[in-house]
Amino acid sequence: MRIKLEKRENITRTLSITVTLFSVLAAMTFIGLIFQVIGINPVLAYIMIFYGSLGDIYGLSETIVKTIPILLCSTGLAVAFRAAMFNIGAEGQLLMGAIASTYIALYVIPNSQSIIIIPLMFIMGFTAGALWALIPAILKTKLSVNEVITTLMMNYIAEQLTMYLTTGPWRGVELWGFPYTENIPAQAYLPCISGTRIHYPTLIIGLCAAALIYVFTSRSKIGYEIRVVGGSREAARYAGISYVRVALITMTISGGLAGVAGVGEVAGIHHRLSPFKISSGYGYTAIIAAWLGKLNPIVALVASFFIGTLLVGGDILQVKLNLPYATVNIFNGVILLFIIGGELLLRYRVKVIM
């Protein structure tokens, strides 16, 4: 018996969706098996996850809360990946946005009105994230330095920076043994939908960004340039498209949106800066959402929501079944593996020859 791989001639959208769904289902089945092995009833676990995240208003709102930063980051990543800029640094860019907004709220204009503080926080958050992404971007475009590693290293540096600030110059109160900054002033709090933690300004920014970027990548000149650069740098040169310009723009957007996500987490949820609670790996999770969404911002939006449900599910597992939050990482890893494995089915027809 031999297995022969024949390259597919045409990949229809239906096939693409089917294979992706199948991959996700297969991944979840596999994880179900892992649950079984460590003594947890998988069916029970999944019911808990989905009921908890979608079954009631509270769960749904929490899911949306978790979706917001993933949505923002994955939209930005979809753009960057399209241009073949593998930005693994959304995590650090998010932290830099958080730092920037904390700085504004606590030390720059703590006594101003909401109408000034909030937009300023968003602007500075975007800028901080964008700049953090631009450093590896410049190294890549001018010096050909691999951006996967540099963006990653910037994550660790941002993490250390956050720890330094919260334990050092910005040290505020200590709660349950963990260092935090002071609370940001009430005027800097983002408004939420009543009864929930959904900080809707960030949500609106995220949805608008996804829509805008979708339109721009598929229909505009710059979107076309991004796709050409991502497809072939040589062809881009031949077409007179500036690789540098495209790379810098995509990284700016990518880093900026991640920075905005950071602002949302600080000003909308925690209301203070702390190294441990701000980002629980949203930057990395967003990579999966973007990949799952096939680098299409609208599909990535759906994927982000799906992952949001898994994250809330992870919280529930932690509370009800005493599993550490790290389980989410396992989910992410397995899903990603199954998706890229499934991509094989997408690109090739598998023939079994007896």
Binding site: L143, Y156, I157, Q160, T167, A326, N332, L337, G341, E343
Partner: protein, 308 residues
């Protein structure tokens, strides 16, 4: 003062051991044309496995071997995704990192955080040599695994550049089509190298939890796996240069807390290895552009026979 420097250099060499193991492994993997970004996750799993098996069996050696095997299995998964399934190698590596970090944290947090390890690896001073002034205690007063890493570096260098096996590996990474035409099985060579890379990384992780600390803590790899990837490029894919690079980074790591009394916050020093990696990568890449070096041309590209 000399004692301080000595203890610093000593610590540097010890931290560099896990780095060196992982880097040596990744050098072989990349030389054959596969890029494995899953090192961080594999190292974490290696740390967990070594710790738990050592605790279980009471014997460090079993723990270390188990970690090596687990590393090999994870390397195999990456090889399977990259070679058989022709997946995007960067994404596959990331997935394995997440998986490895997740599983090790899951099991580690529940069972092993805060648990002490009664077993220890002995420090074996080499007779006569370890008494040489200054360098003696520095180079010849270590545990067996550190010695192993140095011996391996030399052995792997020799194999890679002076034997037929090494020629085959380099050929596969440089021009898989040509290698295939000559009759070399490109796929098997790549599988082997990726698995070896995983094994050595697992071994590096074992060192962390069983010798360096020794303890298990989620997140204890702290980016070492990623630094190993950078080191592979910095060392220009040569096992001997990897020794130098690993020692350099080990030194930076060791500096972290020693500078605190001087008023330099440890967090800032902690950024140094990562900062340095970026700098080193920048310099290394520029050098590459200028000369014909050992960067494997087919790195990251799946090989398919007969496909244009």
């Amino acid at each position: 003062m000399i004692g301080d420097v000595e203890s610093l250099l000593n610590a540097a060499l010890r931290v560099s051991t896990p780095l060196l193991f992982a880097t040596l492994g990744e050098i072989y993997t990349e030389k054959s044309g596969v890029i494995n970004l899953g090192l961080e996750g594999i190292m974490a799993m290696g740390a967990l496995t070594a710790f738990s098996i050592t605790l279980l069996t009471g014997n460090i050696i079993f723990g270390v071997i188990a970690a090596t095997i687990i590393g090999g299995i994870m390397g195999f998964i990456h090889a399977f995704m990259s070679i058989a399934l022709r997946a995007n190698q960067i994404v596959s590596g990331l997935a394995i990192t997440m998986l490895g970090l997740g599983i090790s944290e899951l099991i580690g947090r529940i069972h092993y955080t805060g648990v002490p390890l009664p077993q220890r690896l002995p420090i074996i001073p080499i007779p006569y040599l370890s008494n040489i002034l200054i360098f003696g205690p520095l180079l010849f007063n270590h545990d067996p695994l550190t010695y192993l890493s140095l011996i391996l570096a030399f052995a792997m260098w020799f194999i890679l550049f002076k034997t037929k096996a090494g020629i085959i590996i380099r050929a596969v990474g440089e021009n898989p089509f040509a290698a295939d035409t000559i009759g070399i099985n490109v796929y098997i060579v790549r599988y082997l190298c990726t698995v070896i890379g995983g094994m050595l990384t697992g071994l590096g992780g074992a060192y962390l939890s069983v010798v360096y600390r020794p303890a298990f803590q989620p997140g204890m790899t702290a980016g070492l796996g990623w630094i190993a990837v950078a080191l592979t490029i910095f060392a220009l894919w040569s096992p001997l240069r990897a020794i130098f690079g690993a020692a350099l980074f080990g030194g930076l790591r060791a500096l972290e807390f020693r500078l605190q009394p001087l008023g330099i916050p440890p967090n800032i020093v902690a950024t140094l290895p990562y900062l340095f990696t970026i700098i080193v990568l920048t310099i290394g890449t520029r050098g590459i552009v200028r000369r014909i070096v050992e960067a494997p041309s087919s790195l990251g590209v799946p090989y398919v026979r007969g496909e244009k």
